[in-house]
């Protein structure tokens, strides 16, 4: 140092100078460390908040899904408006038309052209077909519909013969690997096979459902899993998840993926329900893997009774929680929450040691709860967004502790520092949240104004948070998120209209009321599913008449208060009539959210 110090002026020895310097350095280091730890903690919290937002919205959508199922039941009871489509609609909704045509009918409709250079499977399937598929999919080839159908029929045949429960033996030399949700993320499956080896007699696997939806390779995952299952039916176990469901697929992307990859509308495969509504329980003491089912052996096309269906939902939708007892799963709108006491009771009753389940995205890919008796494993990394979470799988055998393997697929962003990744998922989450807000703008403003007695345009933090939670039905840390959503004045009061400033729903037609635009935007996924189901020839068009009557039914079931005349006017003004038909995809695409400060013009219109 060049500036004169007290020490240099003869007050201390040179070692005292050193001590003083090192004391300063110590203090400086402490300051930096302290600041950094605070900053790092806040980053992690922001990441956690983003995940909470994604998850809340996902579960709220699932509620919407169950509501839609109810709507279909309601629709069928109010049949008068949809006369001659009747049989088609029923069978399409409940999938019992599978039995009408058999394998040959379908396969007879398709030919594989010589020009096809994708993978060619050979029945009976062997492990070379698994390799073949994997290599082909790595090069982004698409398996021809002919083979897809063959695999589907064959799988159905084998599954039908299997019981709902499967027992498997394990030993230290023959461990079993358990994977959770994959959701169409092919890269994660490839990584698991790369790290853990392909399935075989000595390398058995359990896949715990939710193979499809959301990711863009649901079909490829399904094909790899089904082919592997056909080759090793005793060593590759497939359990059903809540996404192995026709209606879920319509909303969450699998149907769309199929329509996109296989533009063969006339042979669109009706849903293949997977046999076995199975949860997976492990008996560590002995040898058994027990899959618990509720369907007794019976004809595949038998309809479930209402009670059976409720049991299915319970198995596929429930989540473990810390609170004791069993109570409705209000987040998801179906299934229940079950506590550690319930777990103990059931495990003791069947002399089981552990429950391994999936269904919930966990930041670390897995989570252990209920005193180590329940493990959640989730295998789709970056499920919500690049950087949102790790994936994991478990290896276990009788007599050993389970071993967990974690991973995260990253591409170019691999070397991005943490703060950039957090920024990315945070922006994405806030964006989604803002879209939610705008879709409920009318209801929110009404709720705000009810509390704003002075008509000042301002509310306290508490009041604002209360309304947000109530109207949106999302249990989120509103106070912590408020800085991203609204402006706050120096007294800590919130300007509630500021939340709607930089987003709006594009008005396809100026003269129509905002509330109608908002409503159509809000229910756009549901409407799309409904229209797709009505559209029996998959032409993308329905008649104006059907369009109107469907809207009226929808309106009454969902208690939407919009004038019929408003809606008619909207449809007409959008000039979508093509010979008395409406292209409903075009109709729905016209409703999207514009984010003011976006590089892109359109928001992510993720229509199912």
């Amino acid at each position: 140092m060049n500036t004169p110090n007290l020490e240099d002026m003869g007050c201390g020895t040179s070692s005292a100078t050193k001590d003083k310097k090192s004391e300063k350095a110590l203090k400086a280091a402490l300051v930096i460390q302290n600041w950094y730890r605070g900053y790092s903690a806040r980053l992690k919290t922001r990441q956690r908040y983003a995940l909470t937002i994604f998850q809340s919205i996902e579960y709220a959508d699932e509620q919407g899904q169950l509501q839609l199922s109810n709507f279909f039941s309601f629709m069928l009871e109010n049949y008068t408006n949809v006369p001659e489509k009747e049989p088609g609609l029923v069978t399409r909704l409940f999938g019992s038309s599978i039995q009408d045509k058999d394998r040959q009918d379908y396969l007879g409709l398709i030919e594989i052209p010589d020009s096809y250079c994708g993978p060619r499977l050979q029945f009976p399937l062997t492990f070379t077909d698994i390799d073949l598929l994997i290599e082909a999919f790595k090069q982004q080839q698409i398996l021809h519909a002919y083979y897809v159908l063959e695999v589907l029929f064959e799988t159905k045949k084998v599954l039908q013969q299997m019981p709902n429960f499967t027992h498997t033996n394990t030993s230290p030399s023959k461990e079993i690997t358990i994977c959770g949700d994959l959701h169409g993320k092919l890269d994660d499956l490839f990584l698991i096979f790369y790290k853990n080896g392909l399935p075989s007699v000595t390398n058995p696997y359990v896949f715990n459902g939710d193979f499809v939806d959301r990711g863009k390779n649901s079909m490829e995952i399904l094909m790899i899993l089904f082919v592997s299952f056909l080759v090793y039916p005793n060593d590759l176990h497939l359990n059903r998840g809540n996404h192995e469901d026709f209606m879920m697929n319509m909303r969450y992307g699998f149907t769309k993926e199929i329509l996109h990859k296989y533009k063969m509308r006339s042979v669109l495969m009706p849903p293949i329900p997977m046999d076995g509504d199975r949860a997976e329980k492990k008996n560590k003491l002995g040898t058994a893997t027990v899959a618990l089912g509720i369907r007794t052996s019976g004809s595949f096309s038998e309809q479930l009774t209402k009670q059976e269906w409720e049991q299915v939902i319970d198995i596929l939708w429930s989540d473990p929680r810390g609170k004791r007892g069993c109570y409705p799963n209000t987040n998801r709108g179906g299934g229940c929450y079950f506590g550690p006491d319930i777990t103990s009771k059931i495990l003791n009753k069947y002399q089981l040691k552990m429950l391994v389940r999936s269904h919930e995205c966990k930041p670390e890919g897995y989570e252990i709860c209920h005193d180590g008796k329940v493990i959640t494993v989730f295998s789709a990394s970056n499920y919500y967004e690049e950087g949102s979470n790790r994936g994991a799988y478990i290896r276990m055998s009788s007599g050993t502790t389970p071993r967990f393997f974690q991973y995260q697929i990253t591409k170019a962003t691999c070397f991005r520092p943490l703060y950039q990744r957090v920024n990315a998922i945070e922006s994405s989450a806030i964006r989604m949240l803002k879209e939610r807000m705008i879709s409920r703008k009318t209801d929110l403003i009404r709720a705000f104004q009810l509390q704003d007695r002075n008509k000042s345009g301002k509310l306290s933090m508490g009041q604002w948070a209360f309304s947000m939670e109530n109207v949106l039905g999302l249990n989120l840390p509103w106070r912590s998120l408020s800085s991203h959503l609204v402006t706050t004045d120096k007294d800590g009061n919130i300007d509630y209209m500021s939340g709607f400033q930089d987003v709006h729903i594009q008005k396809p037609v100026k003269e129509v009321q905002s509330s109608l635009i908002e409503t159509v935007y809000r229910y756009r996924s549901d409407l799309q599913i409904i229209f797709n189901i009505i559209d029996s020839d998959h032409s993308g068009l329905i008649s104006m008449e059907e369009f109107r009557s469907m809207w009226r039914l929808f309106k009454s079931h969902y208690s939407v208060h919009i004038d019929d005349s408003q809606f008619d006017e909207l449809a007409e003004r959008m000039d979508l009539n093509k010979d008395g038909s409406i292209d409903f995809n075009e109709f729905l695409k016209a409703f999207y959210v514009v984010h003011k400060f976006d590089q892109l013009n359109k928001s992510d219109t993720k229509l199912a």
Binding site: M1, K24, A25, L26, K27, A28, A29, L30, V31, I32, Q33, N34, W35, Y36, R37, G38, Y39, S40, A41, R42, K44, T45, R48, Y49, T52, P320, R321, G322, K323, Y337, E367, C369, F415, P417, L418, Y419, Q420, N423, M461, G462, A465, P477, W478, R479, S480
Partner: protein
Amino acid sequence: MPSSRGSLRPRDGPASLMSPPLAEVAVAEFHKKIKEAFEVFDHESNNTVDVREVGTIIRSLGCCPSEGELHDLIAEVEEEEPTGYIRFEKFLPVMTEVLLERRYRPIPEDILLRAFEVLDPAKRGFLSKDELIKYMTEEGEPFSQEEMEEMLSAAIDPESNSIHYKDYITMMVIDEN
């Protein structure tokens, strides 16, 4: 340079000096804020969090305790026989005090800058990677390897292998706002 250690804790305006209604409202708001922060880490929704996440929660509420101070805080909220979990009922009153008394205030930007400058006596405007590692892992309340790597990934300029601390600080401050 203010020391963040020691038993002298800055206190302004203890709650009792504020008029009762204001104090009540303030406390109620703090309670809600604390509950929100706690719930995000309460995975099983049973009003407990893993003790290893308590530091993150406290810091997310805007406080910057040192590791030593954090250790003391944890001792206050832990059970008689530590279970590895912290219950909300114990956490809430302690944390409310902390917020009301405005304890563990964050480091202002200029103090942070001066701290870096102390470690850079030659006033080059940067620290080499090795220097930063040495200070952060050997002095004060040393970083773990993970913390060190994490800080480096954002702070380091890969071409010069050094940390231009002024730019770094500016970047971090912008990011938080």
